[in-house]
């Protein structure tokens, strides 16, 4: 598959804008819409109009900054996660958006509401429900269940199960908080439901392990977990503990594989074999020489997302210098890409393979999404979103 940059959305490259840093991107399950969440709490939605071209569709302010009086801390309005609901009806779509503490269910509807002036053809956006007050720590994931009724939200120590219909109650099905906090050694970094089984979800940890929970065995799931790990990790270095922390974990759409992203690698397991990964792909080995420096300036703690192609045959993840890599799962062969804004006048090397000295650690692709239409993917770097179209 050859990928070609089709569209770029964002602002003038010379205007660096903190507020408009993209913090979350997601195609809807039908491939018709693309939602983008920003540092400033705004969400912008693009619609697939003709062919693979997207046009601006809607924009709304999803979250505002808040102040937590109990802890005297600011709660940022940054949108961490966006998840579209599969259900659609009559010009209406719904999505869940989340910041650090609160999840909201938004409805986008093209039907005009009574009492409202004509909206210039823009759809009406409305917050249907607010799911709040359930997380003592920062929310890192939201995932919808295939039953169409429930979803989970995860923070560092807990995974909560919600019903879309009820925002007054949530059930904590995983709680790994130790009685003595000084014994804390592992936190939850990402959680996601199985694509079609309603009773399974996985979560990744800072220790480089993926846990699989079956909600059928017990109400409290932490007693019955399967662990996916690496039995003989090779190349352990001083920094292994830090680099093995997983930032994202995803099931393949066919439900047969689990993929996790840690700082340096993508690891893929067969769901039937938890002892050892099927494959480990090195994303950016060329930064290894610089690990000490990266540890000093905290860049080693950067988080990257990973995603599957809809046919479960390829995987993708972001890297530095605005690059992203697509691996063919069967062969492990990588395709290195770099998201370059055509309006960016700075000089760029033409080589596709990255070289250690030239790495720009300030530019990274941390958020990515692959449409259910196999030939469409999007990645976000800084203030820009790049849409790629593929053809064989």
């Amino acid at each position: 598959m050859k990928w070609k940059l089709n569209q770029v959305f964002g602002e003038d490259p010379s205007a660096v804008n903190e507020e408009n840093i993209i913090t979350s991107v997601r195609f809807d399950p039908h491939g018709d819409f693309l939602a983008i969440g920003y540092q400033c709490g705004q969400v912008v939605v693009f619609k697939n109009t003709t062919g693979d071209t997207f046009k601006f569709y809607a924009q709304f302010e999803s979250h505002h900054p808040e102040f937590d009086f109990l802890t005297s801390l600011e709660i940022e309005e940054r949108i961490n996660k966006i998840r579209w609901l599969k259900q659609k009806y009559d010009g209406t779509r719904m999505m869940l958006t989340s910041n650090d503490k609160t999840i909201k269910l938004w409805k986008l509807s093209e039907r005009k509401k009574r009492g409202e002036a004509e909206n210039n053809g823009m759809p009406k956006t409305q917050a249907k429900r607010v799911f709040g007050n359930a997380h003592a720590y920062n929310i890192n994931s939201v995932s919808l269940c295939s039953d169409g009724e429930t979803f989970i939200s995860a923070d560092d120590l807990r995974v909560n199960l919600w019903s879309l219909e009820d925002n007054k109650e949530s059930f904590t099905c995983i709680d790994i908080k130790p009685t003595n906090m000084s014994e804390l050694s592992e936190v939850i970094t990402s959680a996601t439901f199985h694509p079609f089984l309603c009773n399974q979800f996985i979560y990744s940890s800072s220790k480089g392990v993926v846990y699989q929970a079956d909600m059928r065995t017990n109400a409290l799931c932490e007693s019955n977990l399967r662990c996916f790990k690496e039995s003989n990790p090779s190349g352990k270095s001083f920094f292994s503990e830090v680099t093995s922390s997983m930032s994202d974990v995803q099931y393949s759409p066919d439900g047969r594989y689990i993929m996790a992203r840690d700082y340096l690698n993508l690891k893929i397991w067969d769901v039937n074999n938890d002892s050892s990964p099927l494959a480990i792909y090195n994303v950016h080995d060329h930064i290894k020489p610089k690990l000490y420096e990266l540890y000093e300036n905290d860049i080693i703690f950067d988080k990257f997302e990973c995603c599957w192609s809809p046919d479960s045959k390829s995987v993708m993840t972001g890297t530095y210098s605005n690059g992203f890599v697509i691996f063919d799962v069967a062969s492990g062969e990588p395709t290195h890409m770099q998201a370059v804004n055509p309006r960016d006048k700075r000089k760029r090397r033409n080589a596709t393979l990255p070289v250690t000295e030239d790495i720009n650690f300030d530019e990274k692709v941390s958020h990515i999404t692959w449409s259910s239409k196999s030939d469409l993917l999007a990645c976000a770097a800084g203030n820009y979103i790049y849409l790629y179209v593929g053809n064989n």
């Binding site: 259900q87 009559d90 409805k107 509401k113 009574r114 249907k128 009724e149 909600m215 059928r216 065995t217």
Partner: protein, 578 residues
Amino acid sequence: MEDSLSPVALLIDQLKNEDTQVRLNSIRRISTIAKSIGPERTRKELIHFLTESTDDEDEVLLALSEELGGFIDLVGGAEHASSILPPLESLAAIVEETTVREKAVESLNKVAEAIPNESFKDTFVQLVKRLSSGDWFTSRTSACGLYAVAYRKSSEDTRKELRSSFLQLCKDETPMVRRSAASSFGNVVRQFTKEQVREEVLPIFNQLASDDQDSVRLLSIDACCAVSSLFKNEENVQIIIPVISNCVSDKSWRVRYTVADKICELAQCLGPELTKSNLVSFFIKLLKDNEPEVRTAAALRVQGFGSLSSTDVIIKQILPAIKPLITDQSQHVRAALASNIMGLSTILQREKTVEHLVEIFMALLKDDYPDVRLNIISKLDVINSVVGIELLSQSLLPAIVDLAEDRQWRVRLAIIEFIPLLGSQLGVQFFDEKLSNLCLTWLGDSVCAIREAATLNVRKLAEVFGSEWAKNNVIPKVLSLYTHPNYLYRMTTLLSISQLAPVVGSEVVLSVMLPLVCKMVEDSVPNIRFNAAKTLKSLIPLLDASVVQSQVKPVLNKLYEDQDRDVKHFASLALQQI
């Protein structure tokens, strides 16, 4: 004549208002509008307009769905009932808010009942067909709720189509639709003939019971009752029992929980024979389940299920399964057991209760977790009617004392509420020896809610044991609190007086209480003074007019001159009473 002030025009205007509350209020008044314009205009103008107004906030749409259900008379009675269908169809089809759709379905069913049989097919059945084949899952989900009524009022030809399309919905690809179909399954299938069920329904029923989605499987348990009602016992062994058996062993605890939750309904539907031969063993399995939530649900059904089984079965099979639950690891299971097991005593009668159950009660009375003990104590009147309470009094007392001194005030509060009951059953002597001290301690508790409950308690005891008892045992101690250095405890005295005065008799009030209150109006703390005024106000109706004039009024007048504003205020309120 279209008047700009016509009710319908006014409604149209109000419904354009930006304020949701305005729109909501006007929707709530549409029946008034309908009455004023009469049936014909209601059908032609109002309903027509409302059909176009199905896009609004959920609150407004919910009110609209509800109001329309009551419109049958307003559109001119049964023959015109079908004119109400269009707006309801719209609401049922596309509103994503479940509560609105459910209300619309409810109203649609109401209207359907009224539609005359001749026009039923062309109106309601067509509506059901449209919703069932709708593109959006919302319309298909709503359709499921309409089949029961549609089927009942249709002829055999139509029924055939309806059967087929309902069973199609049971296989829908969207879990939401399948859930809705499974919920309505019982009501619809109940109306089929045995042959139709056997041939067309059973395969679908089995499919629902083995659906991938846990949430669909557990809804099939409800349907078991309806399906089983059509078959005889021997047939149910083949048809229903395997389904229940699979659910009892289902991997998902939620499905097993649902079986436990519905076990009594299942026992009633299947009858005593099948209950004995099959359900008992299922019930016991659920009592031993490895998920505490399931054991809790089963424990809560002990009494209900026991009442549907024979004494023999209870003693030989159920009780042995219950015994391990007394020491279950989860306090919720133990608490559930404690709240339910007492009921078995009425089934087993005295002798067997003494033989088998009393030891269980005793063990639960000693549990660590307060809720377990409280649940036993709350059902003591059941025990009393069967075996009498003396048997338990040995273990009861330590348990009560423990609960009365528990660190959690809510536990202390709960036990106070049982004291009058215990008093009436244990008798005065026992009570005086053991429990009266407790009651008085509570009057001096550090938590205000406890002190208040304690004063109420003392009054109830006075009602149970009589005013002589109150005068001799309680009053002296209660009233002695008035010398306490902390004003909050002195308040207790005043509160007690208010509570006790109606039950102790005027002599006590006059000789003991009134002087005390009059003394307390001189207290240094204003709160005491104005509460004294309040107490005097409550005493006035109980005293002779002469006493009121000679003793109460001067005191109140003096309080009225008090410097504190609140004291003045309550004094004046009391004076108004005179």
